[in-house]
Symmetry: C2
Subunit: 361 residues, 2 copies
């Protein structure tokens, strides 16, 4: 069949050109007679790709020399533990800003490692309907770090501006918030991002970390979990997930040739505008559970008048080639994830379908 | 060019049919209009593959009901830490059998977690030239577990029979030793295997563990590192590396249709025989640094009279389409890794080349 319009939350749509290239090269890359999957991670062919992928991250996000770029395994969920293992020593506590299910899970896992303070939670009064203003954050100036999830895939909220944490390092889970717009990396102590939303397949995590921060991190943990290990080894301390990094390289090359993250931002803002306009045009039928200033540009969540209508909407959309629109099982509703690789025409088709569906109901 | 004869130690050769299938399906799997890389790990398409991959491991290795089968991330190097984090409580120590660089690294990492005893090391007197006999093992009957690396990729040695550890759980790194012959899983407390030798791409680890052992494991560690977490969630606690598991499924299906692990064993024994015969036929020119009963059937290492001749041998072989033959950088020499996917005709070609090279020198 034709390629579907993919609104999955992650693993998510990937740029077709990146997949085309992977398909073309799958049994023989660069005339070597081997698949990239079969190349040694210590050989020239893979090494060039690995180096290029790291360099593309640095270039596209303008990562300053003060920060290391790394690829690690274990998912963002792994980082929920690895961040405090490195950065939360005995006698200190870390501040967590709880704005959604994943941020909450990160805080919970950190408690298995050390002392955690909740600097703010938007769960009880607002059901994660917004991200907090700076003034709502109860920050401990002595904290080891402040942790945020900068985009909340389930709640559909996003920090437009990042919190100011003063001299306390800001650590951000940017799994669903990376590489779609320029950011000032120097403001972050550490960024981590599971690749499977904006930059690649599942099974690989991008970490960008302040060199001094990780150098001063704990040394009483296994070597494999120390950021300094991976930074020093150029992310080749052990066998990396070579195909995942290869595919990320393909994708980052497309981001670059498309005009970089500034062009991505324009593209993504337009997609989100089309979709939120479609919601707002029919306020008696489509409603957003999210407060307007907190709306995510990556995950657009909305409700219909009843769960039955929502189920019908998702089923009909699927028949029309639009897949992945079911809201997360913990909250229901509808969710359209529109990361970098989601096309404007898909979003326009979805907006058109929303109008049709409303008319027919 | 034609597909090369791939003797890489890992990532290594993969069955061409598994890659062909991945190539064919890469942009559209099962008529869904999506790549497997773009499917949700919670959706029907991926779920069927995930379930099938787990079931194939269970079936092919005849894993008994007493044991769980899991897929985890972080490489075998991750398991060097995760095993003691789960199984080595304060007040206990674990026995490590050190038969090569990786086994040594596993012991070193375990020391970052708890108390480690070296039950045997073949490093000093024998430079890892053999695996120990049962009588050489100084086992602690009170140990939390005994750890072995059942095949040593760098030294080129392998346990033909596994040590008897009595009532102490046997934990084995079988990264380069899995799925090539039948094993009695019930004798192991825990098996782990990075996939990138015999069963798949890098970025995914197979774990087979005694249910009672992991259930009684430590609970004072992050949830993501507890085996019980992944066992209870059917390896879907967090987003798995979906493509890697998909490809492993493709590979395991081929193992099954080829006659299962019994057929693999026959195939692999024949390949190893051809290669060791080629070495033994020219004892003044090719020598094996490994004691005969300890010879690995997966990684055949050998030396030529001088390092210069070894370099020339590897370079000439490469020109003849045989790649990956350079010995590990820590030991030099020549190494032919001949896992499941290496073809008998490649090994025959290599043996022929060895004869030619000897004649011409």
């Amino acid at each position: 069949m034709a390629r579907a319009m993919n609104f999955n939350a992650g693993p998510a749509a990937l740029p077709e050109e990146a997949l085309d290239r992977a398909q073309r090269e799958l049994l023989d890359i660069e005339g070597t007679g081997l698949s990239i999957l079969e190349h040694s991670h210590r050989g020239k062919t893979y090494d060039a790709i690995h180096t290029q992928a790291l360099a593309l991250v640095r270039e596209l996000l303008a990562v300053p020399d003060s920060h290391d770029v790394m690829f690690v395994q274990g998912g963002a969920s792994g980082q929920f533990a690895v961040v405090p293992m490195n950065l939360l020593p005995a006698g200190k506590s870390a501040d967590y800003v709880v704005t959604g299910s994943w941020a909450k899970k990160a805080a919970k896992e950190a408690k298995n490692v050390g002392k955690v303070r909740i600097a703010c939670s938007t769960e009880k009064d607002k059901k994660f309907a917004r991200v907090p203003a700076q003034s709502e954050l109860d920050l401990d100036p002595g904290a080891a770090y402040v942790h945020i999830a900068s985009n909340n895939t389930i709640a559909g909220t996003q920090f437009d501006e990042f919190p100011d944490t003063g001299s306390v390092p800001l650590v951000a889970d940017m799994s669903s918030d990376i590489m779609w717009r320029p950011i000032d990396v120097s403001k972050f102590g550490l960024i981590y991002a599971g690749a499977q939303k904006n930059i690649g397949p599942s099974g690989i995590v991008l970490v960008i970390a302040d060199k001094a921060l990780i150098e001063n991190g704990r040394t009483d943990i296994p070597e494999i979990f120390q950021y300094r290990t991976h930074a020093a080894a150029g992310s080749l301390y052990h066998t990396p997930p070579t195909f995942s990094i290869y595919l990320m390289r393909n994708i980052l090359e497309i981001v670059k040739s498309s005009g970089g993250v500034a062009a991505m931002e324009k593209h993504n803002r337009e997609k989100a505008r089309v979709l939120y306009d479609a919601i707002e045009a029919r306020p008696d039928f489509f409603t957003s559970p999210v407060e307007k200033p907190s709306r995510s540009l990556m995950n657009v969540v909305f409700n219909l008048p009843t769960p039955e209508l929502e189920a019908e909407f998702v089923a009909e959309a699927t028949k029309n080639g639009m897949v992945g629109l079911k809201g997360h099982r913990s909250v229901g509703g509808v969710r359209a994830s529109i990361y970098n690789a989601a096309k404007l025409e898909w979003v326009q088709a979805l907006a058109g379908f929303m109008a049709e569906f409303h008319k027919g109901s």
